[in-house]
């Protein structure tokens, strides 16, 4: 059974210059222990999607619709704030891109870690401290007992992200949402953090949603991958399948646009022309059609549904999925 199932979730923001459709009818599920990758460029809705079902989007200006979003059979969209707080930070934890902004600069590392346990467990202060030091050790901070008295600014970027990971894992979540967890870090530190995340994931048998714009990270870490474009999932497949046989023209173009270190140097990269659409003024039909090379008339007229193209692989494209014309 799936751990989390999202059905037809949409989030829009009403702004002076129109309605911004940040997430538009997204459905997906994640199994216990699975690693799901979520790729897309900035503005594709990958962050807002996860913030939406955790109800971390301020309403207003945001409006969340659709659903249900089932976690252990309970609809997150209709839980009371109190019941939701029980799940957030405990059963579902989240880590963000910038470790400096997700830590409180005025509190010591120890205070921030024990606060999590105070909020979600009934451990004594002494036990909470021991747990926190033990968790720092597990995320690779060896002198944890001494680090407990440090403030975030005394730590390096990699160390801060380790503290944030320790905070997220203290309550042994079943689902960890990692939103660009290494984007602010250097490559050698990124490799350390990714290795840490995958080994902890196995140790704690938790599921993970890894949000990234970096296709290399997705390829190395994720079992299954969703590709988002302009608020919609345009392709979903096992990671191996997605990279071996990408179906959607956007996925194909994205893979071709990245320079690779293991490739001989080519003269030119296959770039995608123009830029992603304004979410307040979406193009008609398929959202990718103004940048796509394969377009036909129906691409401008109606939006392609996400349909199966192979076992466990689906894509939303009129052309590459070879769907018969409607009518």
């Amino acid at each position: 059974m799936s751990l989390l199932t999202v059905h037809n979730l949409s989030t829009h923001f009403d702004q002076r210059d129109g309605r911004v459709h940040a997430v538009d009818g997204v459905s997906f599920a994640i199994d216990p222990g699975e690693t799901l990758g979520l790729v897309g460029e900035s503005g594709s809705g990958k962050s807002v999607l996860n913030l939406s079902y955790l109800r971390l989007i301020p309403e207003p200006p945001g409006v969340i619709s659709g659903g249900p979003v089932l976690f252990h059979g309970r609809d997150l969209l209709h839980l009371s704030e109190e019941a939701l707080r029980e799940i957030r930070g405990k059963a579902i934890a989240m880590i963000f891109q910038d470790p400096m902004t997700s830590l409180n600069p005025f509190l010591t590392v120890g205070r921030q870690l024990t606060e999590v346990l105070e909020a979600h467990t009934t451990l004594s202060r002494r036990r909470a401290l021991c747990e926190a030091i033990d968790m720092l050790d597990r995320v690779g901070i060896a002198d944890g007992a001494r680090r407990m008295d440090d403030y975030p600014h005394q730590l390096s970027g990699g160390m801060r992200q380790r503290v944030v990971i320790a905070m997220a894992l203290l309550c042994r979540p079943q689902l960890l949402i990692a939103d660009e967890p290494t984007t602010a870090l250097d490559v050698t530190i990124q490799a350390q953090i990714l290795e840490l995340l995958t080994s902890l994931q196995q140790e704690f048998r938790m599921a993970m949603i890894l949000i990234s714009h970096n296709l290399g990270i997705i390829a190395g870490v994720c079992d299954r991958t969703l590709v988002m474009y302009a608020g919609r999932i345009v392709e979903s497949a096992s990671t191996a399948q997605l990279f071996a046989q990408p179906t959607h023209p956007y996925t194909r173009a994205l893979l071709a646009a990245v320079p690779r270190i293991d490739d001989a140097r080519q003269a030119r990269l296959a770039s995608i022309r123009d830029q992603p659409p304004d979410l307040a003024r979406l193009p008609s039909g398929c959202r990718f059609h103004p940048r796509c090379d394969l377009i036909e008339d129906r691409c401008r007229e109606s939006e392609p549904p996400l349909i199966d193209v192979a076992p466990r692989q689906c894509a939303a494209c009129w052309i590459t999925t070879q769907q018969p014309t409607e009518g």
Binding site: S156, Q192, F243, R260, D262, R265, L269, Q275, R291
Partner: protein
């Protein structure tokens, strides 16, 4: 193409004193951002400069352009010693070397129109005058892929990729021979990054430009560069032709750096052997003794902690600074 030196950096040091106390009178120490860098950039080539944040690659680029005056050492443009020029003399030389910045949001004046931004270096360096300025601006805009109709628009009306094109047009306005591109695509999305890299490649061939391409993205650097220099704590630890450095990295830092780059291919990812470095970059305020990399080096020897290795050529056009290489010549 003969290897004619366009830029020569000789033993360049850039040190920043760190002060403390209320009146900032006490000196805590000196950050050696660039520490004895020597580098030659040949005419027509693209030299890639890679390294992690804090290794001094941006400071090196700025010291080259005299945007930061080196504490010591010399920089030549052809035979002209830039480090000895002042005021008007230096300004006159500047039209030959320009810079493209990382952040297309911060590097454009929000109160100037695109036309005014691009026209400024044209007027400053007397490239054109009168009505010729306007047509020069329009042809530059066209050249970098911006619609010349947008000449009266302001930077906020453009997307990140378009702003980077404005930055490139401004850098080209004085008709330079040499460009320093400091992380020109780091702030951009993947699909836009490819557009800008392609534009830089095209411009290089059409205008016979020489680039110093600074980036932490080793894949982008490989795509762009003829030769690559890897920096660690203020100095180059390895320098070789691009294909060579990726196929046969000699310095343990380069090896670790390359193995840390994720490859967008699950099969390749599974077959790789990854060297994960432990620990963080040491503080440049207190760089380690001996070889600066010995604190994180997986293959450090006893004397690495005390004696700094020399930067030497171990194979044709392939230089590195590591004691390990001395013992077993390649």
């Amino acid at each position: 193409m003969a290897d004619e030196a366009l830029i020569t950096m000789e033993d360049v040091h850039v040190h920043f004193p760190v002060h403390c106390g209320v009146l900032r009178r006490k000196t805590l120490g000196v950050v050696r951002a660039v520490d004895g860098l020597s580098l030659v950039i040949h005419r027509g080539e693209t030299l890639g400069l890679v390294g992690e944040s804090g290794c001094g690659k941006s400071t090196a680029g700025r010291a080259l352009l005299q945007l930061i005056r080196p504490t010591s050492g010399r920089v030549f443009f052809r035979d002209t010693p830039l480090t000895e020029l002042r005021g008007e003399g230096l300004r006159r030389m500047r039209r030959h070397f320009q810079m493209i910045f990382q952040d297309p949001y911060a590097s454009l004046n929000p109160r100037m129109t695109v036309g005014a931004i691009i026209a400024e270096p044209i007027r400053l360096h007397h490239v054109a005058r009168g009505s010729a300025v306007q047509s020069a601006v329009q042809s530059l805009m066209q050249r970098v892929g911006l619609n010349p109709r947008f000449i009266r628009r302001y930077p906020h009306e453009f997307s990140g990729g378009q702003r980077q094109r404005i930055g490139i047009a401004r850098a080209l306005a004085a008709r330079p021979e040499f460009l320093v591109a400091d992380e020109p695509t780091s702030a951009l999305d993947v699909s836009i990054q490819a557009q800008i890299l392609n534009l830089l490649v095209d411009l290089r061939h059409e205008l016979h430009l020489t680039y110093l391409f600074i980036s932490h993205d080793l894949a982008a650097v490989r795509h762009m560069s003829d030769r690559i220099a890897v920096m660690y704590l203020g100095n180059v630890v390895e320098l070789a032709p691009a294909a060579e450095i990726y196929a046969h990295p000699q310095h343990p830092y380069t090896q670790a750096l390359l193995s840390a780059i994720p490859i967008p291919d699950p099969r390749a990812e599974q077959q790789r052997h990854r060297t994960v470095l432990h620990g963080d970059l040491p503080s440049p305020l207190r760089p380690p003794s001996g070889c600066p990399f010995h604190t994180r080096c997986p293959v450090a020897l006893a004397h690495c902690a005390t004696i700094a290795p020399l930067f030497k050529e171990y194979a044709p056009k392939h230089s590195a600074a590591c004691h390990r290489l001395e013992r077993s010549p390649a």
